[in-house]
Amino acid sequence: MIDLHGFGDQLLQGAIVTLELAMCSLFVGLILGLLGASAKLSSFKVLRWIAHGYTTIIRGIPELLTVLIIYFGATSVLMAIAGMFGYDEYIEVGAFAAGVTALGLTFGAYATEVFRGALQSIPKGQHEAAIALGMGPIRKFYRIILPQVWRIALPGLGNLFLVLLKDTALVSVVGLDDIMRKANIAVSSTKEAFLFYLVAAFMYLALTIISMVFVSYLEKRASRGLARG
């Protein structure tokens, strides 16, 4: 058996932090994605421009740079805003909050495109039927549109989640205690770099496999209403 020099528990704790970060970013990203897609399909030109600018910029710059910008930038922006309200204390943005913001923004930009495609593929008749039944726009969205969009968007979102899971490693650069940083700590005390990074790699691989199984379960569940051919 491989000897982890007692760092096994540490790595598992790191895995929990990695998962927490991934789930929180997923939540933020899904909301941003839905908002972005709605804005892209909106009849207001300004909203379309904002959504277009958001997806172009976020998808064009490296995720690591997004993490660094949010981590180092958010502090100065928040302090400038707080300063306007007469608050002069030092505000620190934690690595976790910065990570959720940066990865959520990234996920949201890609999810915008996935949701836009899914929203566009809902037949017009579905909208008309909902309106004919007297549903308001919000109820129509929750009861008719969202469940169908969810089913169409799931495979795309599943892929994005796998990318997100791997991107969480970047937040270790700004000091979050995830798998990657725990591995760094273990390496600096044991000098067995290959061993610990390989263990970290296989932990990510395990998380990836679990997510794949879960996504395929969700896909089956979401399309249970469809006739199988």
Binding site: T56, I57, G60, I61, P62, E63, L64, L65, L68, I69, F72, G73, S76, V77, L162, K166, D167, T168, A169, L170, S172, V173, M180, A183, N184, V187, K191, E192, A193, F194, L195, Y197, L198, A200, A201, F202, Y204, L205, T208, I209
Partner: protein, 236 residues
């Protein structure tokens, strides 16, 4: 915010950008060369030949690029065999370690793209090749690979952009690429927002240039599809 620092350090940022572009170009070319045999092995009819590239692709696509870079840069030097070997002068340089990690990573993704493209070619064309009596090599060289190249282009363009974004990770092993240079400048000037935003803008410009180049190649490669590029003469 004071953007005069950006003006002052802009030449340094461009130096970093050039390193990033080099890293991406070398890795993409090497990755493309490795990807072809991997993709061909991946669609082999023999099960155990298929299994090796499958495991390789699964590992490199399922783990973060950051782990892969650290495995090559810090991991390889753990072994005395590596430190005493002839490869050590290469493996102790962060620049070459980054290129090795990026090449391995991108070859896994590219192999999947190639595989998809080869399999997307209609079976009828394969049969047609066999009917006229082409050998397997001729079939790949004359029909399947050129066809796959046309199909592959959009996905390949995306892969290069992903590689460009991934190249920012080179900064974690002390390489002064665009991100690394930005971090070094910030350590001196304490102006994170200005410099990082400028670096982001440069990445954005490089991405846009790559997209534009690929549009051109795509139009050229798929020109036999016609119709789209036919110009209707203006009236009068």
């Amino acid at each position: 915010m004071d953007f005069s620092v950006v003006v002052e350090y802009f030449p340094r940022l461009l130096e970093g950008a050039w390193v990033s572009i080099q890293l991406v170009m070398i890795s993409i070319v090497l990755g493309g060369i490795f990807a072809l045999p991997i993709a061909l092995a991946r669609i082999s009819p023999v099960a155990w030949i298929r299994a090796i590239p499958f495991a390789y692709i699964f590992f490199f696509r399922g783990t973060p690029l950051l782990v892969q870079i650290f495995l090559v840069y810090y991991g390889a030097s753990q072994f005395d065999v590596v430190r005493e070997s002839v490869l050590w002068p290469i493996l102790k340089e962060p620049y070459w370690c980054a290129i090795i990690a990026f090449t391995l990573n991108t070859s896994a993704y590219t192999a999947e793209i190639f595989r998809g493209a080869i399999q997307a070619i209609p079976q009828g064309e394969v049969e047609a090749c066999k009917v006229i009596g082409m050998t397997k090599t001729q079939m790949y060289r004359r029909v399947l690979l050129p066809r796959a190249f046309g199909i592959v282009l959009p996905a390949y363009g995306n892969e290069i952009i992903l590689m460009l974004k991934g190249s920012a990770l080179a900064s974690t092993i002390t390489i002064l690429d665009l991100t690394g240079m930005a971090r070094t400048i910030i350590a001196r000037t304490y102006t994170p927002m200005e410099i990082f935003l400028a670096a982001g803008a440069i990445y954005l410009v490089i991405s846009i240039v790559i997209i534009a180049i690929f549009r051109q190649i795509e139009q050229r490669q798929n020109r036999y599809l016609g119709t789209l590029s036919i110009k209707v003469p203006d009236k009068g």
